[in-house]
Subunit: 227 residues, 2 copies
Amino acid sequence: MFVRKEAAMSKIELRSKILKKNKSIAEDIRSELNSNGLWCMNLIGSPGSGKTTLLEKTIPLLSKKGRCGVIEGDVKTDYDMKRIAALNIPTVQIETSGSCHLSSEMIKNVLPDFSLEELDFLVIENVGNLICPVAYDLGEDQRLVVVSITEGDEKPLKYPAAFVSADVLVVTKADLEPYVDASVKKIVDNAKSINRNIAVFVTSAKTGEGIDSLTNYISEVFSAKVE
Amino acid sequence: MFVRKEAAMSKIELRSKILKKNKSIAEDIRSELNSNGLWCMNLIGSPGSGKTTLLEKTIPLLSKKGRCGVIEGDVKTDYDMKRIAALNIPTVQIETSGSCHLSSEMIKNVLPDFSLEELDFLVIENVGNLICPVAYDLGEDQRLVVVSITEGDEKPLKYPAAFVSADVLVVTKADLEPYVDASVKKIVDNAKSINRNIAVFVTSAKTGEGIDSLTNYISEVFSAKVE
């Protein structure tokens, strides 16, 4: 019993130490980006929630408002990087080789791969995971939680930390609502019940629904910040 | 630099210690369950991949072959437990309060809530996460990885560990294939490319496709084991 307690203590202590160090590096990143006039977003969502597809649709529009760079986080493969790089956007892949989240140190290590002074928006697509990335500040100015209608409408209540910590909720695949037993309204109501200030965008990459509004919102928040 | 190295070392050491302890408890659980004639399954999949719905459809059929008990793992809420308990099946909820996976110790702690001698199948639905639960043996005899067609067909390659460690792949929501840019065949091909021995079941809770086959398979594997 003693050994179990000891292990539990050191796990908590180590996690606290890791998160503290992560936060400190994240603050440095935020300062560096902001001093370069850069606005940073961190996208968190389950595997297959549609984060990359959302970026494929949003970034061409956002590029009309400012210059974008993208960091892609994946456990394995550089598929997502290739999809975004095809938009002629500076893109860097972080392959975590098993790790379940990006850390601020990983971001810090790849920042030299960008010409920061030539960018306005830096978009980070986190590893597909609705739990672990939540605790790791990456130096972002805004956090977006991405959830597809096909995941069901109770997700905000079952994975509350992601929705509480996010500034923006993006519901994806809204075009599939007629075919699934889940309601966009319920996702939004559930998210608002635990984070009433969350901004909400209901989108469909297929029909284009909500993509314009989301892009305008990002651009407006960015303008308000840099002014 | 020295401090960073030290932290990294102790993180790896601690993880190795935790996994070793987890494995040891898991072996004890497997022995205890098997000595009671029990067969145990561990379902791993993303949030919203359809694990609970799959159980709602499978367990009534499986109950004709043997007596079932279910352990539901969730970060928050007991919604899934209530859905399964409505089938009149002994069900226990483990609420992890933030933790991203179930551990064998959590399973050990709830086993006394069941009358093991009255059960044939114990089904564990893990926390919705395609990464972290993979490293944690829960004492199961078979591991099922659950992936919905709506998550896209490249998931086995992007999250390989889950698919490499699983005995069975269950593709869910196959009825939605016509509405998404993903192919069931590609999911299966990708999974087989990294784990050629994985058993595959393509299912739809809506149309009932594959539910019979999956149930028969579980029952046959169980019979082969206890004979």
